[in-house]
């Protein structure tokens, strides 16, 4: 059963030049292509040799439906009506060929009425188109449709069986909408399953499956919106699955990276600690004999610091730690810098260290450098007292310092009961005072004191920071001495071993 009509149109008007004919053919093609349903039609050009030139004289094409054929004829008729050119038309309906040569529009009108009647195409074909139309509008054959088609079939003179076969042919394997739906769903599911497997083995970007499935839906006669819903449902599932999987992968990867980074950090910290320790021992080497490394050692340390990737601040803090460890700490609660005192003591410059001791104590007291009194000396914090004492006793092997003075005083407590006399004896024991005579109190000028390691126990540091004048004589007041001793006892506990056993018969008033 041929469903197509082959149309051949040839311009045969002798009044037209060759160029005119070519132009007309071109217009004709464009005209026909403009028609609804004709845009996909392929137009074959018919050539002919006229005056030794091969030129286009006509076209040949196929028309596959009654509607299209009707509109083609209508257009051809209109053309002839406005532009009567002698034209030869050849229509071939399967075996039947119909040739018309005319320049009058009326000649085509008869053909049109023939088409209108539907008899130009075989009845099966017309019926087939009707069924297709029903299915495309309702997606399955409803009861009404079937009855309607029955009537159409009877009108076209088809038998019941023929009509039924055609119905089946058009409806295809999946007749009802539900079946189509299920089938489409199944295919979509399989498609995505396949896609998933592909994804697992090859990680290529997911390709859009919709155009293919859309075509399937169209062929199945499933409504596009319904198909799209199914597709979207599976697409969503698929996407969520993919997302979940990739998230899991990401989580796993980040966990691995984290543990790796942690191990790396630990390793780095270990390395840094090792480097710091190395640097610390280098510092110790450089500072065993000097408080501050020599210029040469400083250069080496700087190089070592850079090699070990230690920051300047860190290096300084390590140096400070090592220095404090090797040469005594210089902590201060009053914010006083004891490094100069430490330097002087390290150089065994006893007199200068003594003067510096005055400077740091008066600065720590923060009383406009006024000499300390019995009341103000209490303000010297225990930290500062311990630092000053620590430095003095460290560099004098315990000979000098507040603790040494405290011990001397404790010894005096054992032998002298009278408070006033004990304070005088204490000064004498420290070597701050010579034995007094009738006319001579025994106090010497400050610069006559013994600034050497041969000096008596506790001779230094002097308490010049409590004296208003020194050059005439170094003479701290008894009141201040008593207050300082009391303050020292409050700040520093003498070790039991260093303290001579106290006689309970002579309770001390100052301890």
């Amino acid at each position: 059963m041929a469903k197509e009509v082959i149309v051949l149109i040839k311009i045969v008007d002798s009044g037209l030049t060759n160029d005119d004919v070519v132009g007309e053919v071109q217009y004709l093609i464009e005209d026909l292509r403009d028609l609804d349903g004709m845009s996909q039609t392929r137009f074959y050009v018919v050539n002919e040799i006229r005056d030794s030139d091969e030129i286009r004289v006509g076209i040949r094409f196929e028309v596959s439906s009654t509607e299209n054929f009707r509109s083609v004829i209508k257009r051809l008729r209109d053309r002839l009506f406005y532009n009567p050119i002698e034209t030869r038309f050849l229509f071939q309906f399967s075996d039947l060929k119909l040739q018309i040569q005319t320049h009058k529009a009326e000649d085509l009108i008869g053909l049109m009425s023939a088409i209108q009647s539907g008899y130009l195409f075989p009845p099966q074909y017309n019926y087939f188109l009707e069924v297709e139309k029903c299915i495309h509008t309702h997606y399955h054959l409803s009861n009404v449709d079937i009855n309607n088609l029955k009537l159409i079939g009877q009108r076209l003179g088809l038998t019941q069986e023929q009509a039924h076969d055609l119905n089946d042919e058009v409806a295809g394997k999946y007749k009802t909408r539900e079946e189509k739906h299920n089938y489409f769903e199944k295919i979509t599911f399989e498609e995505f399953m396949y896609f998933r497997r592909m994804r697992e083995s090859y990680s290529f970007a997911s390709k859009d499956r919709w155009p293919m499935l859309e075509e399937l839906a169209e062929n199945l006669g499933l409504p596009k919106s319904e198909a799209e819903l199914i597709y979207k449902h599976y697409y969503k599932d698929y996407n969520e699955d993919i997302k979940l999987k990739s998230e899991q992968q990401l989580a796993k990867a980040s966990q691995e990276a984290e543990s790796k980074a942690k191990a790396e950090r630990q390793k780095q910290a270990q390395q840094a600690q090792e480097w710091r320790d190395q640097y610390r021992s280098l510092c110790r080497e450089a500072m065993t004999s000097n408080i501050y490394p020599s210029e040469y050692d400083q250069g080496r340390l700087d190089q070592a610091r850079r090699l070990r990737n230690i920051s300047v601040d860190e290096a300084i803090s390590i140096e400070v730690e090592v220095r404090d460890e090797l040469h005594g700490g210089i902590q201060s609660a009053a914010g006083v810098d004891y490094s100069r005192l430490r330097n002087l003591l390290h150089q065994q410059a006893w007199q200068e260290a003594d003067m510096e001791t005055e400077a740091v104590i008066l600065k720590a007291l923060d009383r406009d450098m006024q000499p300390a009194t019995a009341a103000t000396v209490q303000r010297l914090s225990a930290v500062d007292v311990a630092t000053i004492d620590g430095l003095w006793s460290r560099y004098s092997s315990g000979r000098f310092g507040f603790k040494a003075q405290q011990q001397v005083y404790r010894a005096q407590q054992q032998i002298q009961q009278d408070d006033r006399q004990r304070l005088l004896d204490f000064q004498q024991a420290l070597g701050w005072r010579e034995a007094p005579s009738l006319l001579y109190q025994g106090y010497r000028p400050y610069h006559d004191l013994n600034f050497s390691l041969e000096a008596p126990q506790g001779h230094l540091p002097t308490w010049r920071w409590s004296c208003p004048s020194l050059s005439d004589r170094y003479k701290p007041s008894l009141e201040v001495i008593a207050a300082v001793i009391q303050h020292l006892n409050g700040c520093m506990l003498l070790e039991a071993a260093a303290t001579p056993a106290l006689d309970p018969a002579f309770p001390t008033q100052l301890a």
């Binding site: 400077a359 008066l362 406009d368 450098m369 000028p445 004048s469 050059s471």
Partner: protein, 205 residues
């Protein structure tokens, strides 16, 4: 400390001192300097009002060893600045401290051996000793005999802070009730002032 003491009154006094110094009225400047020191001492924490000059003179205040040791550093520095800038560093407490410190370093002086013929070298150095034909004697000049002139030795002025002592003390030191003049130098007060100045210097540094 100075913030409270540096009242408008004190600021005025300091600018008055600068004026006197630039007019080279050394004697008046010396008097004012001593007045300011005495007023600062009398201005104890319990007594908020700064005493007037008349009050200071009426009470016959003087600068004892212990008093000198507690003079406010900012005031000393301010006074010293005035003297130094007016005299090009020739006069002032710093000049005196410099002379004193040089002597402490170079000359071993034993105050126990102090007598007529061995005054402290500082007095000779700053030209405070009464001149005797043969050899220096530990006698200080009358105050009015001092050189109120830039030709005077370095550290010659200010001097009144040292000269003004109670009459009785003057008498005890072998003087004629005329203050520090015409008697033996009191090493304790001199040293106290110098020690105070050096302590104040440490604060500044």
């Amino acid at each position: 400390m100075l913030a409270s003491a540096m009242t408008t009154d004190l600021e005025e006094s300091l600018s008055e001192l600068s004026l006197l110094l630039y007019e080279e009225d050394w004697k008046a400047a010396d008097r004012l300097t001593t007045d300011l020191l005495l007023r600062a001492v009398a201005h104890s924490p319990g007594n908020s009002a700064i005493p007037s000059r008349e009050e200071v003179q009426r009470h016959r205040l003087h600068l004892a060893t212990e008093t000198l040791a507690t003079l406010p550093c900012p005031l000393l520095n301010a006074l010293d600045d005035c003297w130094q800038s007016a005299s090009g560093g020739h006069f002032g407490f710093s000049a005196q401290l410099q002379v004193y410190a040089d002597i402490l370093e170079t000359v071993a002086f034993d105050p126990a051996l102090r007598n007529w013929s061995m005054p402290h070298p500082f007095f000779e150095e700053v030209g405070w000793l009464m001149l005797f034909p043969l050899r220096p004697v530990g006698f200080l000049k009358f105050y009015s005999w001092l050189d109120f002139d830039l030709d005077a030795p370095m550290g010659h002025l200010p001097a009144l802070w040292y000269w003004r002592v109670p009459r009785l003390a003057s008498l005890q030191m072998g003087g004629f009730l005329t203050g520090q003049g015409a008697c033996f130098g009191d090493l304790s007060r001199l040293d106290a002032m110098m020690l105070r100045l050096s302590r104040c210097h440490q604060l500044g540094g």
